[in-house]
Every structure is written in C-alpha cells, then in structure tokens.
C-alpha cells in the first residue's frame, strides 16, 4: 500500500462509481453521495478508470468531480460549510480517497472540521449539502442496468 499523498491537487480528477438509478442524464442524484465520506478514486493512482471492472454489477458507471468544482460560500443556518478531500489509500485500492464535509475553518477553530468532517444536525440541511456535492459531479461513463 502506498503512502498517503496529500494535499490532493484541486484540479485532479476524482472518480465515483454510480449505478443507473443514481443519475439523471449526466447529473448525479443526491442520494448517491454520502455526506460523511464519499469514496472516490484519484486519477493519479488509477491507471485505467474506463477499463476497470465495475465495483459491483450495478455500480458500473463513472462520475467525476474535483476540488476546484466544489461549491464555495456554502452556508446553512448561517454556518459556513465546505467540502474537502482526504487521501485514503487502502490495501486493495491505491487510488481510494474520500470527499468529506464540515464547517469551514474560522478564527475560533483554524482547522474547521478537517480531517474528520462533520454533518449538520438538520436533515434538510444535510440533503442540501448532498445535493450541492452531487451537482458538481458529471457522469462520464453512463451506467447500465445489469443483465
């Protein structure tokens, strides 16, 4: 397993597996992203995204995003939030990393909620954050229904 390699460059492409019931056209639906930690694969450590076997028979499409496309100026109930990436290689997946969310760094708490992340208490606010993240993702390989 490789060493952690951070920070992830903000323009590095991050791939997320999606299934046919998680997309509308090239947009990813909010229930397909996990606010606590959405697993993605880093372009730098993934040799052949389009030739790789699917994660599961259903999760056979790919959507991309990158830190540069994460929404700025997010505020929910007057609390500023952000998305950030955490490099997290695993034994069976060198490219694995995660997108997490949390309160933005402030004078009171310079690290914000990095690296663990934090979800807002309001469920409606959580859904809005999930939708914001999903909006940044673009389907680059359309998923298909398994045979």
């Amino acid at each position: 397993m490789r060493e952690r390699d951070e920070p992830i460059p903000p323009d590095e492409t991050l791939y997320r597996w999606v299934s046919v019931d998680q997309v509308n056209g090239t947009e990813v639906l909010p229930h397909a992203v996990d606010l606590a930690c959405s697993s993605v694969n880093r372009e730098k450590y993934w040799d052949d995204p389009f030739g790789s076997p699917p994660l599961t028979p259903e999760q056979n499409g790919l959507a991309t995003t990158c830190e540069d496309s994460f929404p700025r100026g997010l505020a929910l109930n007057e609390v500023p939030y952000e998305f950030f990436t955490v490099d997290d290689p695993t034994e069976d997946n060198d490219a694995h990393s995660e997108i997490r969310s949390g309160r933005k760094p402030s004078d009171e708490k310079p690290s914000g909620d990095r690296p663990q992340g934090r979800k807002p208490k309001s469920k409606a606010a959580k859904l809005q954050l999930r939708s914001s993240l999903a909006e940044t993702m673009t389907v680059v390989k359309q998923p298909t229904a398994p045979a």
């Binding site: 597996w17 019931d21 229930h31 994660l55 599961t56 859904l127």
Partner: protein, 191 residues
C-alpha cells in the same frame, strides 16, 4: 391523507384483471403472506412486509397481482444487504421502506406511475420523479422526490437542473401526500 390511510391502499393481492400480470416464481414466494389473517390494529400490508422480512411460508398464493414498478422496486430493496454498493452503504430498513411505501402509494394517487425508487447510500429509500424538458444529456430538467432515511424521517427534494441549487424540506409523517403533490406540481408546471 394520513400515513396510515396511504398504507391501507398498498399492495394487496387481487383477482386477475386485464392489467394484471402473471406472478413470477420469486415474486409469488414473497406474496404468499398476502392472504394471512390480519392482526387486530395492524394493516394487511404491514403484515405483508413483516412477513417478507421473516420469510414466512404459510398461506395461499394469488394467481396475479397489480403490476406496479414502484412496489416491485421497494420489494427488491428489502433484500439488500449492508455494503450493497461495495462502499459500505447501509441497507434500507423497515422504517424507511414503510414510509417509502406510503410515498409510492401517494404518487399513484396523483398520477406518477413510474417513480424511480432507489436505495440511499446513507441508508434509507429515495423516491424520485422526473419531468419538464429533456436535456441534451438525455436527462430531464426537473427532478423531485421524497427521501426517507432509516429513522423513517422524510425530506422533500426539488431541483431544476438548469440552475444551481435545490430545495430540501422536512416532511412530517402526516404530510407525505402533500409533499408528493408538491413534487407533482413542480414537475407539471415545468411542461
């Protein structure tokens, strides 16, 4: 309409009709519980879903049932195991599926006959509806739905893809039907 009223309309076995379809073997097995006696104070449909969980074997098998894509997708979700997405997702639990069932029922009342019912990667069930303009990418401009988590709590979701942002609101247990109607109006107004 209360949640209970919505649930009462849900999938009971019926006589063969012109729109009914033959029951597949696997589906037939799941529906074996449909003819069981109803416990006092518990709807037949709740018993049905309880029995699916328990893999009960008794009772007669109906020859045919109403074909409903939404219900069929819900039944499939009952069979999901944890980590169904290969990334550690929680499986939808009974609380989520019971509420999603009421959402599907309410959607039939307003004319949404083919919802997209899908497992939520955070646990729970998402029920979506699409409409408006078909975009160049093949998707629809308007998407809306009701997302139910494993606590059984529901959220309304509306989004016009032609501009950034979305609407997300809590939905009380007695407001599922009105939430579905809001989604319907949101999409109908887009045409």
């Amino acid at each position: 309409m209360s949640v209970y009223q919505a649930m009462v309309r849900l999938p009971a076995a019926r006589a063969v009709s012109a729109e009914a379809q033959p029951v597949l073997g696997e589906y037939r097995q799941r529906l074996r519980v449909a003819e069981r006696p109803v416990t006092r104070g518990v709807s037949r449909e709740s018993v049905l879903f309880d029995m699916i969980y328990d893999s009960d074997q008794a009772a007669e098998v109906p020859e045919a049932v109403d074909h409903s894509p939404g219900y069929e997708q819900l039944v499939k979700l009952l069979l999901l195991q944890p980590n169904w997405d290969g990334q550690g997702a929680a499986a939808p639990n009974k609380a989520a599926i019971d509420v999603a069932r009421a959402v599907v029922s309410a959607s039939k009342d307003v004319g949404f006959n083919r919802p997209l019912v899908s497992a939520d990667v955070e646990g729970g069930v998402a029920t979506y509806f699409f409409g408006g303009t078909q975009l160049e990418d093949g998707g629809w401009s308007h998407q809306g739905g009701v997302l139910v988590d494993n606590d059984g709590d529901a959220l309304l979701y509306l989004r016009d893809r032609r501009s950034p942002g979305s609407t997300a609101e809590d939905v009380g247990p007695d407001a599922l039907s009105s939430a579905v109607q809001r989604v319907f109006r949101f999409i109908a107004d887009a045409f």
